[in-house]
Structures are given as structure tokens and as C-alpha cells.
Symmetry: C2
Subunit: 190 residues, 2 copies
């Protein structure tokens, strides 16, 4: 998606450890107009798939997921992060490892809000190793629902998450796929 | 706002300790159509005030703030929560006490995303004692920006936050103000 790629080239910053900072327009300050264009694009990719629920995980997936849910005219559910494994109540829960913060946590969703009737489009801002997406997919499958696909803003194509999910048969649509990234260059997969 | 009040009466649940659960439509599963109607209402209240930035705090304020930012056609910034007081980097930071979780944390915003040019509308899902809003106001004022007001989904009118902020001269617009709440009744301020 050209306008997202242009925005990344103009305003993204590469930090040591393959960190791509896009906090001026995607996950701290948010360019809502860009978000809407991204939601339109994801709608085109998944319309007709029968999506009736959008799922993301707090916090930085929520803004784009809100716009996507608006486009699909369906509810949005965001999974919550729990620091402890001591999760109580009527929830689906799955452990996820965060490489960014180098720790484990659980993501949870109330059993009231994911069911076997749900045809779910999973939305997130980043896809790298795929741990968060695998966790969200697991929650949908625990509930007996169906994953219709994953819509991502930025995929790090040089990490294995996207390829592995596609190999497993999931439809993953990433609006920008970073092929290669160094301190002074960044290229996208065409 | 009648449709929000009706939704609270139909789907809200009162739990011990004056907890109002609205997680089926506002802060876990989200009714995006309701959110849009709420954003329209807040736009009516604050249009003409020169708002050029929307500020909220992660996580449950983000969805409604996204819709409000869309309505105002301006950027959204969400403050991040830090568990430790050991905040580094070029950020504005302020300690906030959470009565819900009975702990202190810092909320932070990068200095790049709040400036003295900003005329800020602060958005959150709940207003009770006002600690979170006071923190967000403090961040705007640290940056030399101007707080144009606060737009809230649900205010607990029986707690002191809203009254105290209004007494200090802030325009606070809450779309539903719960006057009184017990296990089997809930009344709104008219």
C-alpha cells in the first residue's frame, strides 16, 4: 500500500535490534486519515468472507481495528494482556511471549465475546515472529470460531511469522512488508 | 445521551464496590455504531473550540478516541502506562493512582507529540475520581498546550472527579452521568 510505505519512509525510524519506530503516525500518535485508508484496503481484501467480528489485542492494535470494525459494520473485541498466569473467570486464555519486552504474558478474552458463530478477522499493527497472532488465532479456535484471516499494517518480512502462518493456510494480508532494514535503508517487498 | 443510557440499562452490570461493567459494548467488546454516535455527540459539544489534537490513555480510551479524532479530522495521541517510575527518554510523565487496580503507575507521552501549539480534547471511557483525567491534563500543561475540554462516555456522578474538574474551570462533557447505582437499580442525572 503505497501511502503507508511512503509514510514509513518519510517518518519511520530504524533503531538497533531491527526495531522500526512508527510512533509518529501508527502507535503513539495516530494519523487517523491514514488509518481509514488502511481499513478501506483491508475491507477490499476480506469483503465477502462473511466476517462478523474483528479481534485485536491491546493496546496498539485497537485504533486500526476500530476503523476496520467500522468498515465491516461489526463488533470489535480486544484481547487483554495479563501479567500473571493466574487468570480467573470465564475467559479464554493463552500464553504469549513478547520478544519486544522479553517476557511472557497471557492474552485473554471473555467467553461471552468469542463464540462458535464468530467468523473473525484478526487485526494488528505489526507482524514479526507471529507470536501475538498465533495467540489470537488460538483464542478464536478455543471458542470454536473461524479465523477468516489476518490484516496487518506492517509485516517484517525478514522474520518468519508471516511465512509460517501462510504456510499453515491462514490468509495474511499485510499492507506494507519490510523486506530489508538497516540504519540507513529500508526496502519493501513488491 | 439516551442511546448510551439505554445500552447501560440493558447491558451494564453492577458489581460490588461500585463497579459498573460495560464490557459487552464499551471496553472489551465494542459496539462501533454506538461509538460513532458518541463521537458525533462530542463533536457537537466541542466543534468551534479549535481542537487540533485528541488525547487519551491506553487501553480502553483508544477506540472512542479514534472515532472522535476521525470526526475532528485531527491526530490522536494515546498516553502509555509505565509500571515503574523509572521513565527514560524525551517524554512528559506524571504519576497516576489507579483505584480500580489499587496501584500507582506513570502515564507518559513523547515530547514530540504534545506541544504548545496543541489545543487538546481529552477523551476517556470513564470518569470517577478523576485521577486519570488530571494526569492527562497535567501532560498537556507540561507541554504548554491548552486543554479545550474533556469528553467522557460514562461519569460516576456520585464520585467527586467531575465536580472537582468543573469547579476548576474545565469543560467536562459526559455522555451519561450515573447518579446512583445499587445492585438492582441505576439512575442517571438528567
Amino acid at each position: 500500500m503505497k501511502i503507508l510505505e511512503d509514510k514509513i519512509l518519510a517518518h519511520g525510524r530504524v533503531l538497533p535490534g531491527h526495531v522500526l519506530k512508527v510512533d509518529s503516525f501508527l502507535n503513539h500518535q495516530i494519523d487517523v486519515k491514514l488509518l481509514k485508508a488502511m481499513a478501506d484496503e483491508l475491507y477490499k481484501e476480506f469483503e465477502g468472507a462473511g466476517v462478523n467480528k474483528i479481534l485485536t489485542v491491546e493496546a496498539s492494535g485497537i485504533a486500526i481495528a476500530t476503523m476496520v470494525a467500522d468498515r465491516f459494520d461489526c463488533p470489535l473485541v480486544f484481547a487483554k494482556k495479563h501479567k500473571t498466569s493466574n487468570v480467573v473467570g470465564d475467559v479464554y486464555s493463552v500464553p504469549v511471549h513478547s520478544y519486544t519486552h522479553n517476557r511472557d504474558y497471557n492474552i485473554i478474552v471473555s467467553k461471552n465475546f468469542l463464540t462458535k458463530e464468530d467468523k473473525v478477522l484478526i487485526i494488528d499493527d505489526f507482524l514479526a515472529n507471529g507470536c501475538a497472532l498465533r495467540g489470537l488465532i488460538n483464542l478464536v479456535e478455543q471458542a470454536g470460531g473461524e479465523v477468516k484471516g489476518c490484516g496487518i499494517a506492517i509485516e517484517k518480512g525478514f522474520q518468519e511469522g508471516g511465512a509460517s502462518l501462510r504456510k499453515d493456510g491462514y490468509k495474511v494480508c499485510s499492507l506494507a512488508i519490510v523486506e530489508n532494514m538497516t540504519d540507513n535503508s529500508l526496502t519493501f517487498r513488491k
